[in-house]
């Protein structure tokens, strides 16, 4: 490549670098600074306040619990759905389209839809009452029923965000030539063995992307929780919101934001390491 054109690549990426710098890096640095400052000096006061807050350990526990339940369920469901959709000979596109509808719904709207189902006067109670299974309205989403609240939130999250995993996995499945599976079939592998020994290992790069994306988003879960449980089910992002808006304490809110980021980065690092595909094993 001639030397005089060497500035062109930099010029081409400059707008996005400026954009990222202005709207991502600067706020990020500001947030980190905010979380570590009290007045004009460096201090861990915000973090102390965050950790000593009554809701903190509950929020950490709930966020991790939700992530640990929702993400594996989503991956297993999405794998099953992707396998089925890619086996369809007719109507593949329409099936995929229908399965991805929840992706087009904002998370708050999804939370409200599930609220309409599960609240005291919701569709679930009406149906159970009509069937004579309950004597009157049952509260599923109150502080007194933490497990049913948890499962309601988990169900809503699974419903809302499994499709993004599905889309990534279907794209990944399409990249695997069908000869691999056919060869395995000829040499004696049953369907489950083919899935385990051939499809799954070859799908690893897509699984890695899907897991990183879903896990990072799961640690940021907020709107669905807020719609269904409010502060009855504290989560990290919800606490950041409360400190920012209700308590007007930006420092503690920033500390929560930095904590969420640190957890997400750690999870991403774990996935990159555990699910790495060595270059010589790529197709």
């Amino acid at each position: 490549m001639p030397a005089r054109t060497s500035w062109i690549p930099y010029a081409l990426i400059a707008p996005s670098v400026v954009f990222l710098g202005a709207f991502f890096l600067i706020p990020l640095v500001q947030t980190i600074w905010l979380s570590f400052s009290a007045g004009d000096e460096l201090s861990l006061a915000n973090y102390e306040r965050m950790v000593n807050d009554l809701n903190f350990s509950l929020a950490v526990r709930n966020t991790f619990l939700l992530t640990l339940v929702v993400v594996p369920v989503q991956v297993v469901l999405a794998l099953a759905m992707a396998t089925m959709v890619s086996k369809l000979e007719k109507g593949r596109d329409i099936a995929l389209w229908i399965l991805t509808i929840p992706l087009g719904i904002s998370d708050l709207a999804a939370g409200l839809a599930w609220l309409a189902l599960l609240q005291n006067t919701g569709y679930l109670n009406s149906a159970l009452y009509a069937l004579g299974l309950i004597p009157g309205p049952v509260g599923w989403l109150s502080q007194e029923t933490p497990w049913s609240l948890f499962f309601a939130i988990a169900a809503a999250e699974v419903w809302r965000a499994t499709a993004i995993v599905l889309v990534i996995l279907i794209a990944g499945l399409q990249l695997i030539p069908k000869e691999f599976s056919e060869a395995a079939e000829i040499f004696g592998a049953r369907p489950w063995t083919r899935f385990r020994r051939i499809t799954l290992p070859l799908l690893k790069p897509s699984l890695q992307s899907a897991l990183i994306l879903r896990t990072v988003l799961a640690f940021e879960v907020f709107a669905v929780v807020y719609a269904l449980g409010g502060r009855n089910f504290p989560v990290l992002a919800g606490e950041a919101y409360t400190w920012q808006n209700e308590n007007q304490n930006y420092g503690v809110a920033a500390a929560y934001a930095v904590l969420i980021m640190a957890i997400s980065l750690a999870a991403t690092a774990v996935y990159l390491r555990v699910l790495r595909t060595r270059p010589e094993q790529l197709p």
């Binding site: 030539p177 000869e179 691999f180 056919e182 060869a183 395995a184 079939e185 000829i186 040499f187 004696g188 592998a189 049953r190 063995t193 051939i198 290992p201 070859l202 595909t277 060595r278 270059p279 010589e280 094993q281 790529l282 197709p283």
Partner: protein, 349 residues
Amino acid sequence: MADIVIDRVVKEFGSFRALQEVSLTVRDGEFVALLGPSGCGKTTLLRIIAGLEKQNAGRVVIGGRDVSDLAPRRRGLAMVFQNYAVFPHMTVFENVAFGLRMQKAPQAEVKRKVERAASLLHIDSYLDRYPAKLSGGQRQRVAVARALAVEPAVLLMDEPLSNLDALLRLEMRTELKAVLREAGTTTIYVTHDQTEAMGLADRIAVMYGGKIDQIGTPLEVYATPATRFVGGFLGSPPMNFIKVRCAQGMARIGEAAVPCPPADGELELGLRGEDASLDPGGSGIPFDVRVVEPMGSHLLLTGSIDGQLARIVAPPTAHVTAGERVALTVDPSRLTWIDGATGRALARA
């Protein structure tokens, strides 16, 4: 070891009939090539034998057992794919061992058989490498070793050499023939390359338009093609077809006359380029030479006989110049006579 009987197999894709009642018998230990242009149904037939595709009608019998409705893994065969389908996430050893592992063979047996197949294909030194680190030819060897390691009764090969460059193809072809001869496996080999089919196969089934036009030894299909298509598809240059009129047992071509079989209407004379010899100053079939191409081992002459395109192979030392008219003598016993209407060869006297 097993013989294969393909009995009136039909395959339709929608309204397209890819295979029209194809029947074929492959003897135990025989090497049969399915040869034809792309779209002739040869790969579809192979996939039906493998069980990867389901026929609409007809039966596939392997070793006396009707396998028509069996899953591929129950048919007792192995296959080599066109793009090798060597598993990228497994070492060469695990690739070759795959079939044995699926059979739950004991570790010692797996090791022994993998090493045997690997040494047969000269890949012993790559056993712990991943396929991405291998060249196309080496991957091909892994695919063949994987197939031979299970000691299959039947080996199916789908254009296994077509992704290799010309020199490697020639080398692998020779080696494959030696290896398979030693293994004695019944083999069906799909190819569109006539030299591969001629060089490797005991018998060649030439396919065209979803049918087998002819099946026979390489020499038979070459020297005595059953149809115009077979004559034109095999050989380089392909067989020449000259339209002639036959009267009283003689066909007139220019000033020359050739004895012809009794037939009504128009006949075509099928003449292999190397079956004609130059007859300087003679009164043979007149051939107007338009282009002379020295190919080293021979001269390739392109021109016309009775106004129809023809290619003739002459000795490399022959003195022929473009624009010249030469006389050709032919051995009547080596000619093929084609019915102009049906495209089928007439029975030989």
